[in-house]
Amino acid sequence: MNLHEYQGKELLKSYGVKIQEGFVATTPEEAYAAAVRLRDERKSGWCVVKAQIHAGGRGKGGGVKLAKSPELAQEVASKIIGMQLITPQTPPTGKLVRKVLVAEDVYAPGPSPHKELYISILTDRATQRNVIIYSTEGGMDIEKVAEETPHLVHKAFVDPLVGLQSYQISQICFNLGLSGLAFKEMSQFITALYKAFIGSDASLFEINPCLKTSQDTVIAVDAKVAIDDNALYRHPDLEAMRDKEEEDPTEVLAAESDLNYVKLDGNVGCMVNGAGLAMATMDVIKLSGGEPANFLDVGGTANAERVEKAFRIILSDPNVKAILINIFGGIVRCDRVAQGVIDAYKNMGTIHVPIIVRLQGTNADIAKKMIDESGLKVRSAILLKEAAEAVADVLK
């Protein structure tokens, strides 16, 4: 589950991580009030208005703007709120901005030059440990930094049994070229950040940029935070932060029906039991000349009710020109699944796209006969190869 920047920063702050302070606003008037508060409480005459959407690269798309007064903050916010923000990470049509974070200006000059750094924490699959990735090259795309100047990207792996050690924290500070107060500040920052990562069951923290200010303090200027969905049961406070408006409405609906669905851009929908087989079925669609319209795992119990829900979700996508149902009946018997398909089909009246049903496993023959004799416009198959051929055929 992804958090917005302002939510991520709230989470970090609750663990003692220093952040760029700010207030969230949903209207230009609220943005004005936020800017006034920053001016009065934080002595920040200038402020930054940042679009809050679940996608990176917001600055490039015009979703982050500097405002030199509360009046200008209001004006900038009026342009950003309601805009369709397009960034390299959004769909081509962009994402609607519903709120902005009005944040203090942290780049004011001071005794020492400020410096943008990069820090992220995630789970490294190869070593099966958490890793802190850090670089002196903050404020940029880290993948590009890693490609062009790999020696500037450092990693610290954390032993799960003893946790992050002091020497590792010192090493991070030295490698980031810090000394004096900034060294001490960064030590505290990393300690609190790792504590927050573990404490919140996060799957990703990306602080880019992490700023060493001109006063030698260290603060998070941005925060990309993702929480492990499997651990949300122990964080009801974080679960409450879920912003369903940022998610695809069909995916939200599917999740409520306990169906694992991911919307894609293609023309052939699919309904499958099991995640691996579902991905493989998408691949079959592509190899048959189509493009998968979705990923959908109906799970172990493919009864009429679930099949009908899945049908409705797939058909809510106007691009769908055909549907491939691929069920390997193991413990679930194919004849029961076939009955589910037939019942669901009848309940829905007429379905205007061709349907191919491939049922393999227990009682596959009986299931095929049931489909063939149902009088419905449904093509049946037993072998995966036959199903692939049928898909190619209906797309002609």
Binding site: L161, R234, L277, A388
Partner: protein, 293 residues
């Protein structure tokens, strides 16, 4: 011969009396798997499915000399159940549970590292040695005895592969479902290594998915060891978009190296017979086995 489980395995079921545990334990017993008992804290001393129930794994091991455990415990208690099994001296721990928090698994994996046990899963269909032991949730009838080993991240796709191998006139030595999570007990390479060492296994099917680098690691190892047995490989998720989780917690493309395309290329370079379509697994295995003879 076979790997991990056979007719001599003494198996206990953790989460024995729960809905999932009961259902699948019954199926395992019906397959003539040597289930010697089960564990449900608080129900020790009772009987379930005609087998003794124990409060702890340690009690179960003392009483039954169990060496294998299958775990159906809900996600929030499953990591604890794995550690308990390891601590009690269980040699093969098979965790079916899906949805264990990743930080729990990181700790668990480190905890069991110096115990003399092998963890399979979590989030897997289990392990089956046809005709001997079904320690998992797979439909037993699909798996006929033979000389092909299967290593897979997926459940139903494993059944699909086994079905095709059987229909192509061959059979299975042992099918190992390693699981679809980012942190799992036994990697693709480790499972392949077991099958390479198994005398009865003459060919291997590897079923991978997008995400992580385990298939590439296995492929490089197979090549380094001299491609001793023919291997057919399939990677699910060729059409999956970047950055989206496809059902399994581990099935997510992060960068350029963990796409299906990259994995398929590396596997092919290492001498593995890579199929683009999952419909071609059985036929390809039959072809490469015939060519070998």
């Amino acid at each position: 011969m076979s790997v991990l489980v056979n007719k001599k395995s003494k198996i206990i079921v953790q989460g024995f009396t729960g809905k999932e545990g009961s259902f699948h334990a019954e199926q395992m017993i019906a397959y003539n798997t040597n289930v010697v008992g089960g564990v449900t804290p608080g129900k020790g001393g009772t009987k379930h499915l005609d087998k003794p129930v124990f409060n702890t794994v340690s009690d179960a091991v003392s009483a039954t000399k169990a060496d294998t455990s299958i775990i159906f415990v809900p996600p929030r208690f499953a990591a604890d159940a794995i550690m308990e099994a390891a601590d009690a001296g269980i040699k093969v721990i098979i965790c079916i549970t899906e949805g264990i928090p990743i930080q729990d698994m990181i700790k668990t994996k480190a905890y069991i590292a110096d115990k003399k046990c092998r963890l399979i899963g979590p989030n897997c269909p289990g392990v089956i040695t046809p005709g001997e032991a079904k320690v998992g949730i797979m439909p037993g009838f699909v798996f006929k005895k033979g000389n092909i080993g299967i290593v897979s991240k997926s459940g139903t796709l494993t059944y699909e592969a086994a079905d095709q191998v059987v229909k192509a006139g061959m059979g299975i030595t042992t099918a190992i479902g390693i699981g679809g999570d980012p942190i799992i007990g036994t990697t693709t390479k480790e499972a392949v290594e077991l099958l390479m060492k198994d005398k009865e296994t003459e060919g291997i099917v590897i079923i991978g998915e997008i995400g992580g680098g385990m298939e590439a690691e296995a492929a490089r190892w197979i090549q380094k060891m001299g491609n001793k047995k023919p291997v057919v490989g399939f990677i699910a998720g060729q059409t999956a978009p970047k950055g989206r989780k496809m059902g399994h917690a581990g099935a997510i493309v992060g960068g350029d190296d963990d796409t299906a395309e990259a994995k398929m290329r590396i596997m092919a370079e290492c001498g593995i017979h890579v199929v683009a379509s999952p419909a071609d697994i059985g036929a390809t295995m039959a072809r490469v086995m015939a060519a070998r003879k």
